[in-house]
Point group: C2
Chain length 225, copies 2
């Protein structure tokens, strides 16, 4: 370790800090964890290590989100490579399943699910989380192709994936089942999310066709990435 070049040591320190922050935030909450506690738990001797490697809490959190987004995008590309361009009924699977595969790859216990759920409701971070982390180009294409590109259906899809994943992660962290059992629980959640999101999107589409034209100009329609 002491012979590693400075840049490699810096990369290692950044990675350690990110993993530690995610774990502490997930288990104790954004409100209960200071940057100094993160640095100490990550084995950094310098009290300002986190501020040295990241300019502050929000940059640290954005770096963690970016790393997960890349991994999820790789799962999405792999799914498309295996199965080809998704047909109309497959698009919800291509929205949901890459996130499920990412959770399976993270193993148990993981912290990303609970961490992300907190970040998406934190006033200073929620807009960034929705626009940059949860609304990537590949996701936008899938939503547009699925007819859920605007409005409720897209927002509900995002909320269900984020918060149902955080709940399953909480439960698995408590029960610590064998890896195969955890993977099966994630796949079951994935299948249920695909079913539920397809059902709610169809229902909203039918209701919209029946009772009103889409209206983008009023509150309650604009937000949500």
């Amino acid at each position: 370790m002491t012979t590693a070049p400075a840049s490699a040591r810096a990369v290692l320190a950044r990675t350690l800090i990110m993993r530690t922050a995610e774990r502490l935030y997930a288990t104790h909450g954004l409100a209960e964890v200071s940057l100094r506690q993160i640095g100490e738990a990550a084995g950094q001797r310098n009290k300002s290590a986190v501020q040295y490697h990241f300019s502050g809490r929000d940059d640290l959190i954005k770096a963690i989100l970016a790393e997960h987004a890349e991994a999820i995008e790789r799962h999405r590309l792999a799914l498309a490579a295996r199965q080809g361009e998704p047909g109309p009924r497959d698009r919800v699977r291509h929205i949901v399943l890459p996130r499920i595969e990412h959770h399976i790859e993270l193993g148990t216990p993981s912290w990303y699910g609970r961490f992300l759920a907190q970040v998406t409701v934190e006033p200073a971070l929620r807009e960034y989380a929705v626009r940059a982390h949860l609304n990537t180009a590949s996701l936008r294409r899938l939503h547009d192709a699925h007819g859920s590109g605007v409005g409720r259906s897209k927002d509900m899809t995002r909320q269900l994936i984020v918060h149902m994943s955080a709940e399953l992660e909480t439960e698995l962290a408590r029960e610590q089942p064998p890896a195969a059992v955890a993977a099966a629980a994630w796949r079951r959640l994935g299948a249920d999310l695909v079913t539920a999101i397809t059902g709610l999107t169809d229902a909203l589409g039918t209701a919209a066709g029946r009772v009103r034209q889409p209206d983008q100009s009023v509150p309650g329609r604009g937000l949500g990435g």
Copy 2:
């Protein structure tokens, strides 16, 4: 004010602290607001005022939740009194609409929606929020009658109501529309939630009947109140 008996003054102080806490938490986040800041913003001269009236942060938060739960329950009873015992297709309306009516009554800006969304993902509070605040006896009866009493459908219903309400509240707080426009946006969200939840519950019920028997013994099925 100075002539009010101590108990009335204590009630007033508690109420002021609760309203202030909810507003500060909603707009700045649980992580960024101290009990001392809440006391100061609520006009309390004593630096330990919040600890005097509530034993700490979690008790303060539980008191705020309890107050809202009572108001929502009143809306639910009023709806049942107006419309009688709900039929099968009305039960989702009786789950969703009392929360929507509560938001309309709170006016704009309100803070409860964003406050609740944060509380439900906070590690120290989430279980309490789900079990005590979001799973009242009247709600359990409606879920059981609707066939969504266990498992995914109930959990998804809760997540959609909490987090879609928080998002609309964020948007209304930013845009500050006239009260009638805000009320219409809440009613539109209520109608869309009823449609979406009915759609996803039907879809999950159909899929469960097709591919598997319910299994309560595996992870991913037990949690969620």
